[in-house]
Amino acid sequence: MNNVLVYAEHRGGQTRKVTFEMATEARRIADALGGKALALVVGAGSAQLAEQLKNYPLDTIYVNDDADVDKFLLDPVVDYVEAAAKAAGPSLILIPNTLAGRDVAGRLVARLGAGIGADVTDFHIENGVVTCVSPKMGGALITTCALKNADYAIATIRPNAFSVAPSATGAQVQPIEKPAGKTYSAVIESDVDEESSGEMALEEAAVVVAGGRGLGGPEPFDTLLKPLAHALGGAVGASRAAADAGWVSYSLQIGQTGKTVTPSLYVAVGISGAIQHKVGMRASGTIVAINKDGAAPIAEFSDLMVVGDAFSIVPELTKLVESAKKEAVS
């Protein structure tokens, strides 16, 4: 195993930062193993994303804008990744640790007889052996796991864990043939986006402003948190209590049963900090909490806890951040 293949997940050519994090890391691993760094982009909008990927140190970018990719639930994607992996030869396949990425990864474990490292935050390569560093059990343990005994291995990559370093090294964009003789079974009949376009994906935002039960309803997510997140250049998240209450969509939920985020700044507003929530954000760079209750468990793992009324503090804080930004510009 000496090549590295990146599966570039996207929707209509729009991708997430983790794709470029993987493209950057693929080169580092491929160099350490003496192999090639490759990427695969399939589905509508592939050509556009392939052009963007040329700014990264890859050798080959396999492309096919096959319309079936967006019509069937991952069946064509799995076929393409398998075909690309076989074309590349023994390789490590990097897949984003997203809902769809985990399904693709699991299916490839069986297809390729591969080992898997899950939710990987770092790789070590020694004497041709790749080991994966992953937080387990909600971050209570950090494990190091070696990939062995197989020509192919898979790693699902935690967004925001690897750095991005563009460097165009003349990657070749190469069409990849549609795998022949395949039948697809699970048909996508409709596909609805709830995250409005242009808003940052929660998992890769550098700043997350999250709200919980203390907000008392759905409105403060729009009127209170969104302006602060916008001022800080970040995204809005929520605790399970807020999602369960129907105040926000589940795609914003952070925690054990939601998303795991590792922004440089996490602002928790009206969130008590139950273990369910903690495991989804404990690895954030700096944690600031605003809560009425000074005894809330979130105080135990916040860098700064302000005991007070979020409804009046957040708007003033937003103004301070906005005026600091204006000063910096002028």
């Binding site: 809902l99 399904d103 080992g115 600031v288 503090i313």
Partner: protein, 262 residues
């Protein structure tokens, strides 16, 4: 319609988790084993689909684990499952995702199913890869994160959550389904259910019943745990009480400035 639900037996999630430094496996002694709480959502989905299907629909719970833990399955039977099957063999110990899903798939071929429901999350060494691997080894469609599902005309109609919203998906049976927690809260076992569960069958399969064509357990695994450590300690920071909103906003702003975050 035969519905099979896979469940995992895990150490009580409320207990402290430890790994044995020698075997590098989860310490399970002295810790109560329970049904993975998330798998109860999968079981709830199975029971709802059985009720809607009526007729001769049945629910079988399936697990892989040490035979000594088989009584843990009574809870699933008390909730309403009709029978349980356990794949138990010492040679399975140390199996990774690839070996585990291969062995489970061979056992599930043996039990047979029209619909296989797999819990979407585990509380311990989760990879999220088992459902996908199982579907491939079984050669059935893999439809994940369902928040609604319906069986109509031999097909499965699902509304599923995605990273950015939701989709409706249709696929033929037999199929593999995983459920999101939004499918519905698991029911409580009734007293009648608890009493009835004592008489329901729990069948044990071993590897010799399956006829595997590749190794499982540690030898059949493609990954090896080499090290583990607790994460860096995150110390408690400052807690400040503020007189008013202005003081609170300034306290945070100054802190962010000091950290160069604004």
């Amino acid at each position: 319609m035969k519905i099979v639900v896979t469940v995992k037996l895990v150490p009580d999630p409320n207990s402290e988790k430890k790994i044995d430094p020698n075997t590098k496996r989860l310490v399970r002694t002295g810790v109560e084993t329970v049904l993975n709480p998330y798998d109860e959502y999968a079981l709830e989905a199975a029971l709802q689909l059985k009720e809607r299907a009526g007729g001769d629909a049945t629910v079988t719970v399936f697990t892989m684990g040490p035979e000594a833990l088989k009584e843990t399955l009574r809870k699933a039977l008390a909730m309403g499952a009709d029978e349980a099957v356990m794949l138990a063999d010492a040679a399975l110990e140390g199996s990774d995702v690839s070996a585990t899903s291969y062995a489970m798939a061979q056992a599930l071929k043996k039990t047979g199913f029209d619909l296989l429901i797999v819990g979407g999350l585990t509380d311990d060494g989760s990879t999220g890869a088992v459902p996908g691997a199982l579907a491939e080894y079984l050669g059935v469609p893999c439809i994940t994160n369902a928040r609604k599902a319906e069986v109509t005309g031999g097909a499965l109609q699902v509304e599923r959550e995605t990273d950015s919203g939701y989709q409706t998906v249709r696929g033929p049976l037999p199929a593999l389904l995983t459920t999101a927690l939004t499918f519905g809260e698991p029911r409580y076992a009734s007293l009648k259910g608890i009493m009835g569960a004592k008489k329901k069958p729990i069948a044990i399969l071993t590897l010799s019943d399956l006829g595997l064509d590749r190794p499982v357990g540690t030898d059949g695994s493609k990954t090896q745990l080499v090290n583990f450590a607790p994460p860096p300690v995150r110390g408690k920071g400052k807690t400040i009480e503020v007189a008013d909103a202005t003081a609170g906003a300034h306290a945070i702003f100054d802190f962010l400035k000091e950290k160069k975050l604004v």
